[in-house]
């Protein structure tokens, strides 16, 4: 799933080296009015979204706002922005407003098939922790990666849904570290077994080979006393995500979220 990004990233790097000025000029996929992203991330995501646009032939972009201006809600803002803008019929756009701390995934046309209600929920749940922690770079990177995965899946198979849920890719830094740690443990224990084969001289501390006629002449097990300790149970976290609704299919599925 995420693998296909490696050639993608390579391509971008090549492009970047070939036409640095052209790339800087084409930052049209990101309108970061609230200035939430660092410029390098802005560049990277812009390139990634452009590439996706070519691949899937849909509009993808990210808009950040300081406030909503005249629009009453972020949904209204998005609706007007998308329909009045020069965008394709199909697309997925992310709107973030710092003033109201709203985040909204707007889907247009076929975009809502790839990112359906399930997809919106999934993406919200993944990025909101970053946004509310003001880790905007990570949040937007995460959004773009997930969007790419959802689009890829929709294009090549069927869209992710409740009955066909998104699987986190197993290749991630934590799992690689676990693999490396396990490899270190296993290889160390193997070589130490090999090393122990070289040693065969050990003192005897027992003489059980020479013992016989063992008899137990007295045995008593008497209860003396008890000690009881208790530890408080960790409280279960009650702030679960909202459960996904049905298939939207319209121009925009679920509503916005706060972060």
């Amino acid at each position: 799933m995420r693998l296909k990004k490696i050639p993608c990233v390579l391509l971008i790097l090549l492009l970047f080296m070939a036409f640095p000025s052209a790339l800087a000029a084409a930052e049209s996929k990101i309108s970061d009015t609230a200035e939430l992203m660092t410029s390098s991330v802005r560049k990277d995501l812009n390139a990634q979204l452009s590439e996706m646009e070519n691949t899937y032939n849909q509009s993808f972009f990210i808009v950040t706002l300081a406030d909503l201006g005249e629009a009453g809600t972020i949904e209204q803002y998005a609706e007007a922005h998308y329909t009045n803008g020069n965008y394709l019929m199909n697309g997925v756009a992310l709107y973030v407003c710092m003033g109201t701390r709203d985040v909204y995934i707007y889907t247009a046309g076929m975009g809502s098939y790839a990112v359906n209600a399930y997809g919106e929920d999934y993406i919200y749940d993944s990025i909101i922790p970053f946004l509310s922690g003001n880790e905007f770079d990570k949040g937007f990177e995460n959004y773009t990666d997930l969007l790419d995965d959802f689009m890829y899946q929709y294009k090549n198979d069927i869209a992710y849904s409740e009955s066909y849920p998104y699987k986190e890719p197993l290749v991630n830094p934590v799992n690689i570290l676990i693999v490396l740690g396990a490899a270190a443990l296993i290889s160390l224990s193997i070589v130490f077994v090999m090393k122990s084969q070289l040693k065969s001289v050990r003192p005897q501390t027992m003489a059980l080979n020479y013992a016989k006629d063992f008899q137990l002449t007295r045995q008593s097990d008497v209860f003396l006393y008890s000690r009881t300790t208790r530890t408080a149970k960790p409280k279960a976290n009650s702030s679960g995500g909202r459960s996904g609704g049905g298939f939207g299919g319209g121009s925009s599925g679920g509503g916005a979220r706060k972060f």
Partner: protein, 362 residues
């Protein structure tokens, strides 16, 4: 005042006074409460505890007969001080301990005559073959060690052993714990129940061996145990023909602490193994008494092989009766590192590949 007793608290060791009029039995230091029978029994038990008592009979010297003694020669190695015996008909050419070829005759002085001997069952060729087998499958053994391996000497030698018979009785007290877990809505609970576990028992030990040679490394001899005592024969000087014999220079008395230790550990293990069903079981007291301790002197067959590698002497030992072969080998740290790194990278690669394949295919 007659009605007040003093007890030791099983939980903290503090002094508990029991007033029969109040009927209360609560430790003032740790607040533990006890049944009166429990604490009486516990205090009776700890008051009856004794120290270890190892009692052995004196070893009785059996002297050599005149003509036997004339047949035996005594040599000493000026290099390492090792002393060996052999019959007139056996050529003693070198010291089996350090390989020094210049050993010198020494006046044969009145030594104990062995009670028993286990004759050699395996010959020199068997010892050499066993050495080759000993190298097999040792992946970290330096290649050069195998290739350059000129065995300096292969010597069949009777090593003097003291064989100890005794019966051992032991009394042990353990503190045992059992853990119980449960929980309610807010808490997880752990209850530890403490038990006083008493075990008494006895066992007899037959012919526990300890080598009586200073020159011979004790752990080497420990490692070639056990011998099959069905092969034990009444000693005759004729068995020594063709082999060297080490002269004992540690008498039965000197070796006793090693035997006491082994017998004590063994009877304690036998008793401890009967205390089952506990989460933990810690010995709080142990007293072992040995009785009927009897010692015999025996010569047991050992093949010794010496080799030098990088100026270090490596000694291998084979049980001349059972063929058990032991001896520490040097390690090739280069190979160790190569194995470690290749295993690490191999396993890491496989693991990571597995993750990638999972992502690709599933």
């Amino acid at each position: 005042m007659d009605n007040v007793w003093e007890y030791k608290c099983p939980a903290c060791g503090g002094k508990i006074e029991f007033d029969s009029s109040s009927g209360q039995l609560k430790c003032p230091f740790c607040d533990s409460e006890f049944e009166i029978e429990t604490i009486q029994q516990f205090n009776e038990d700890i008051n009856a505890e004794k120290a270890d008592d190892f009692h052995w009979e004196e070893y009785e010297n059996k002297g050599w007969q005149e003509e036997e003694q004339n047949n035996i020669r005594n040599y000493i190695c000026p290099s390492c001080g090792g002393e060996i015996l052999c019959t007139n008909t056996t050529a003693a050419t070198h010291c089996p301990y350090c390989g020094n070829p210049a050993i010198i005759p020494k006046q044969f002085s009145g030594l104990y005559k062995p009670d028993f001997v286990i004759p050699f069952q395996l010959d020199k060729e068997a010892a050499k073959t066993a050495l080759t087998n000993h190298y097999k499958g040792k992946l970290l053994l330096p290649k050069l060690f195998k290739q350059e391996n000129h065995i300096n000497s292969v010597t069949g030698m009777y090593v003097p052993f003291w064989l100890y018979d005794c019966s051992a009785g032991a009394h042990m007290r353990f503190k045992g714990t059992k853990l119980h877990y449960w929980s309610d809505r807010n808490y997880n609970y752990t209850r530890t129940d403490y038990y006083s576990i008493i075990r008494e028992g006895n066992a007899s030990f037959t012919r526990v061996p300890a080598d009586g040679s200073k020159s011979m490394d004790n752990t080497l001899m420990d490692s070639v145990e056990p011998f099959d005592y069905n092969g034990l024969k009444e000693f005759q000087a004729a068995y020594m023909s063709g082999f060297l014999a080490d002269k004992y220079d540690e008498d039965a008395e000197v070796c006793k602490p090693r035997i006491n230790e082994r017998v004590k550990n063994s009877i304690e293990k036998l008793l401890r193994d009967t205390a089952s069903g506990y989460t933990s079981c810690t010995a709080e007291h142990s007293s072992v008494s040995l009785s009927g301790g009897n010692v015999n002197y025996a010569l047991l067959p050992i093949w010794m092989l010496n080799t030098k590698y990088k100026d270090k002497l490596y000694t291998f030992v084979m049980n001349g009766q059972t063929g058990k072969f032991i001896g520490n080998l040097p390690i090739d740290w280069g190979r160790f590192t190569i194995w470690l790194l290749s295993l690490f990278f191999g396993i890491s690669l496989l693991g990571t590949l597995g993750l990638f394949l999972y992502d690709l295919l599933i």
